[in-house]
């Protein structure tokens, strides 16, 4: 019980802020709760499926396959796959990180992971049509074309900045997340 309370303490603090808002500015507090409600429904409908899909991927896709497609020596193919994977997805931003973690545990290269995260946030295909209808095709296409080298550049610099031991620590960290029980996570952020 105390463990659960401890793990959810950050959430309880934020919930407290929302309750204070509800008292001080009822209309804002209520609006916040309504947005939270609709976002929660979205989460409940998508996140379990995404996680089950990840679990199946983890079980059935061989590590060698992942290394060949997204690993250290995957080259241009790896970049293209990372880019496509990120672009066809249509989930919320915070869902990319658990997916990134699973891919890393299977041997994906860190550069490709950052490309995947960048594509997920910036060049999502379903969103591009929406962007074109609001901002015009020229705007959407121009931004898309400029964002491709930007995503690669961000991935390149980020990977250079964590070269060596830090990168090993990152991979050790995601492997630990995948293999540990929550109750051992007393030092985690929430």
């Amino acid at each position: 019980m105390m463990g659960v309370l401890k793990r959810y303490r950050f959430m309880l603090v934020i919930l407290g802020v929302n309750i204070i808002l509800l008292i001080v500015r009822p209309e804002l507090g209520l609006k916040a709760l309504k947005i939270t409600e609709s976002n929660s429904i979205e989460i409940l409908m998508n996140i379990p499926a995404i996680f089950v899909l990840l679990g199946l991927l983890d079980t059935w896709i061989k590590k060698e396959t992942m290394i060949r497609v997204l690993g250290e020596k995957s080259g241009l193919l790896g970049i293209a796959v990372a880019f496509l994977l990120g672009s066809v997805a249509a989930g919320p931003m915070y869902a990319t990180f658990p997916i990134a973690g699973t891919l890393m545990n299977k041997g994906a290269k860190f550069f490709n992971i950052i490309v995947f995260v960048g594509a997920w946030s910036t060049t999502k295909l379903p969103m591009l049509f929406f962007e074109a209808s609001a901002m015009g095709w020229r705007f959407m296409l121009a931004r898309f074309v400029i964002d491709i080298p930007v995503i690669l550049l961000i991935a390149f610099i980020t990977e250079k900045m964590v070269m060596g031991s830090e990168k090993e620590l990152i991979y050790a960290n995601v492997s630990e997340i995948a293999n540990s029980y929550p109750k051992n996570k007393g030092r985690s952020l929430t």
């Binding site: 934020i14 379990p48 990180f97």
Partner: protein
Amino acid sequence: MLFTIGLNVLTGLLLVISLLRDRRKTVMALKKVWKSLDNILPMFLSIIILLGIMLAILSPQVISNLIGQKSGWLGITIAAVIGSVTLIPGVVTFPLAAALLKSGASFTAIVVFVSTSMMVGVVTLPVEIRYFRYRAAIVRNALALLFSFVVAVILGRILK
């Protein structure tokens, strides 16, 4: 919505296939799935509530007033800050950006707002740090912020 249905149908189908092929392996996979969900759920729920509060306060109307007609660096800075701290869904960002442009807001500021709202995630930073640790997460977001300005300048040159 279409994505949600597609995702769930696909996952269901694959789950059945997996169960048929190897029951024991599948059950083990599901146990692991539950573990990792349980692991990340407090963080996800925190973000969702925080997001609700932020979107309630920073409504499209408020953002319009903040970015509005302000020109030069002040407008761009405000746009960058709002874009970075909020995790606004694209279905809100783009119509808002289009409306702001029509009402005369600066093009650079609007592109910075669009770019940062997609690439820079201050609200999701705790999850990102949880997986990528501090250095990579901070570097990635700082670069995304920096390049949002670069993209805005280049787009401004091309589209004018």
